[in-house]
Amino acid sequence: MRKSHPVRRVVLATAATVSGVVLLLSLKPASDPAAASAAGAVPQQTAAGQAPQGAAQAGSATVTGDAAQTQYGAVQVRLTVSGGKITKAEAVQAPKGGLSDQKTQLAVPKLNQEAVTAGSADIDAVSGATYTSEGYRKSLQSALDKMKTAAPPASGSSSSGSSSSGSAQARTVTGKAVQTQYGPVQVRITVSGRKITEAEAVQAPKGGLSDQKTRLAVPKLNQEAVTAGSADIDAVSGATYTSTGYRQSLQSALDQAGG
């Protein structure tokens, strides 16, 4: 029954909400403090400055990507490729000085590991080292691009044949990069005995909304490709463009594998 003051209430609610949100946002650090401090005891293991090697191994080559500039310095990735597969990834350049040393120490080994495992630039950012991760990804992509121009997909598959020692029939084929409205999509498949044993996207739309969509759609598409064994796969709803591009690139990879 006390007098109500609608205007005062609106002003108070707005001010309280806005200042609360701003306070929460400003309390968040620019980079993850837990990750940075945890890096304290990690031994120094930056890959920068190591002499290029690998010429000794038959069928393997090193490719160095373009240096990608980040807010904290340049990142440059060098790959050792054997039989169309990344066998080693290292950072020739990475941010240095101050906090960056710690972050580089922490992030670069993880990123190297991820690059080898993924075999593509589709790797997760290391939390607390977003800029370094982003630069790493860009340089890695450029290295992969160079690798492809140097050895086109068809010859890539033949070189895979020459270096294969374990599984006689398994080989990887990379499809054409298909341009979509949101960026290129490129599919790489591992074929064993005329069956697709593995499918992955070497390239997929990135940035903004696309990150979320790629995260949602690509694993499903990979799964579908392996299950269907052909390019006759369903589009993932909400990611039609990516799905269409994926399908086309997959078809081109299958054409190469079949031919």
């Binding site: 029954m1 909400t17 929460l24 946002l25 968040k28 620019a30 909304l209 696309s210 990150d211 909400g238």
Partner: protein, 460 residues
């Protein structure tokens, strides 16, 4: 003399034994609501290790507003689920005001969430604020459940627009009410994108479980208390119009018969939402207070013919079937904390006061009723009130305009003059908002603490 005094004391003690004030659960409920909001913010805090730049800040603000909106939306629906603890303990009027306030606030949060998130996405894709519309269209096309969410948000905006003061006053009540029912559809449509695209629910299975539990519980309460409980009540009691009586020009009483009506659990001072199954009336239900304590075969409401609906009550045929939901309202004897009670009625606000005047326990002189009306002809139910006063030894006073149309002076001095120990009374009050406000101020000035002035107002 001594015997009378002793008898008076014994009666007083008897009365006091029957007064068990129950505290309103409003404070613990509000604390729980705040704790829930804090938990939601904590969820965001846990899942956001760092924010690198302005885009991150914009998206962070978008996530916070989105999470809070999703949380509050469940509570806004819960407030209208007719949960007895809210309707009968906190009070339907207070809960309705909470609902209006939090509804507006939630709508603002939803709009802020949409704007901030789309702006953030546009920035991430290297576009400017001007591309926000295109970004929204893209998101709707590409992200899961976003089409539904956009439709739901559109409904929220329509519901919000029809509830703005001037628009609502111009709309017929039924139109406004049926648009408002779309809230359920809107909440359903917007729920799914929270689960499928919400960052915090993607990474935290516990959070997802909690969210499902929150919405599931609210759905269960709505189904139980808004649908099943009324069906059971009406199947059990089978109410119908027994008679319509004109009390004074413009004020009618409707007598309602049915089975075992005393078993409905209704108390004096409470109301039901009534739906009369007569042509042109079956699609709207209206809240009217009981104007007499419930009897085994009879309920009575007394209504002033001000609106379209209340004017039609006069033409109700005996035998018309009645669908009722209730009882609701917290203006009951439970609120009382003292032995002495002053009831203040303005105009047709006499209805719940009349029921309380008859039933509030108390000895001679404990209960006083002050009845305000324009003229003595407008004092509806006066004969009954006089009879009750006579029988109980209660005091009955009225205040009407002078023959020249001058309003009576209900001031602190006058109140103290008539009721010297007014500050020891509990006051129950029902009347038009302006009247209630001025009496409230006079009572406060006369020394009655605000916590002992019990009032129900359906003004927003």
């Amino acid at each position: 003399m001594t015997t009378t005094l002793a008898g008076g004391r014994a009666a007083r003690r008897q009365t006091m034994r029957r007064i068990r004030p129950r505290r309103s659960p409003a404070v613990p409920l509000l604390l729980a609501v705040w704790a829930g909001a804090a938990a939601v913010l904590w969820l965001w805090w846990q899942n956001t290790p760092s924010i690198a730049d302005d885009t991150g800040r914009i998206l962070g603000a978008g996530r916070i507003t989105g999470l809070l909106a999703g949380y509050l939306m469940a509570l806004v629906v819960l407030q209208m689920a007719r949960v007895p603890a809210l309707e009968r303990r906190v009070g339907s009027d207070r809960v309705a005001r909470w609902h209006a306030m939090s509804g507006r606030y939630t709508l603002c949060l939803v709009l802020a969430h949409v704007f901030l998130t789309m702006w953030g996405y546009a920035r991430q894709a290297g576009k400017s604020l001007g591309d926000i519309v295109q970004q929204t269209v893209d998101s709707i096309n590409q992200l899961p459940d976003m089409g539904k969410a956009a439709l739901g948000t559109g409904l929220f905006v329509v519901i919000g627009l029809t509830s703005i003061g001037p628009v609502r006053r111009r709309l017929p009540y039924d139109a406004w009410y049926h648009v408002h029912l779309l809230t359920y559809a809107a909440v359903f449509l917007t729920f799914w994108h929270q689960i499928t695209t919400g960052n915090d629910f993607a990474v935290e299975p516990t959070a997802k479980t909690f969210w499902y539990a929150l919405y599931g519980a609210v759905t269960a309460l709505v189904v139980w208390y808004r649908i099943l409980t009324p069906i059971r009540l009406n199947l059990r009691h089978r109410m119908y119009v027994e008679a319509v009586i004109e009390e004074t020009p413009g004020i009618v009483s409707v007598l309602i018969g049915g089975r075992r009506l005393h078993r409905m659990g209704a108390e004096a001072g409470q109301f039901f939402r009534w739906r009369f199954l007569a042509p042109g009336m079956r699609f709207s239900s209206h809240p009217y207070s009981l104007s007499a304590a419930p009897r085994p075969g009879m309920l009575r409401i007394t209504v002033k013919a001000i609106g379209d609906h209340s004017a039609r009550l006069r033409e109700l045929e005996p035998g018309t079937k009645v669908w009722a939901e209730g009882p609701y309202g917290a203006l009951t004897a439970q609120r009382r904390s003292r032995g002495k009670v002053l009831l203040v009625a303005g105009g047709v606000g006499i209805t719940p006061m009349r029921a309380l005047f008859e039933t509030l326990p108390g000895g001679a002189g404990d209960i006083t009723l002050l009845y305000r009306a324009n003229t003595t002809q407008d004092l509806a139910l006066w004969d009954e009130l006089a009879a009750i006063a006579e029988e109980r030894g209660a005091r009955l006073m009225y205040a009407v305009n002078s023959p020249e149309g001058e309003r009576p002076d209900i001031s602190a001095e006058n109140l103290r003059l008539k009721i010297p120990d007014i500050e020891t009374h509990d006051v129950f009050m029902c009347g038009p908002p302006g009247f209630a406000q001025s009496v409230f101020e006079a009572l406060r000035e006369a020394g009655v603490p605000a916590r002992r002035i019990h009032h129900e107002s359906f003004e927003m």
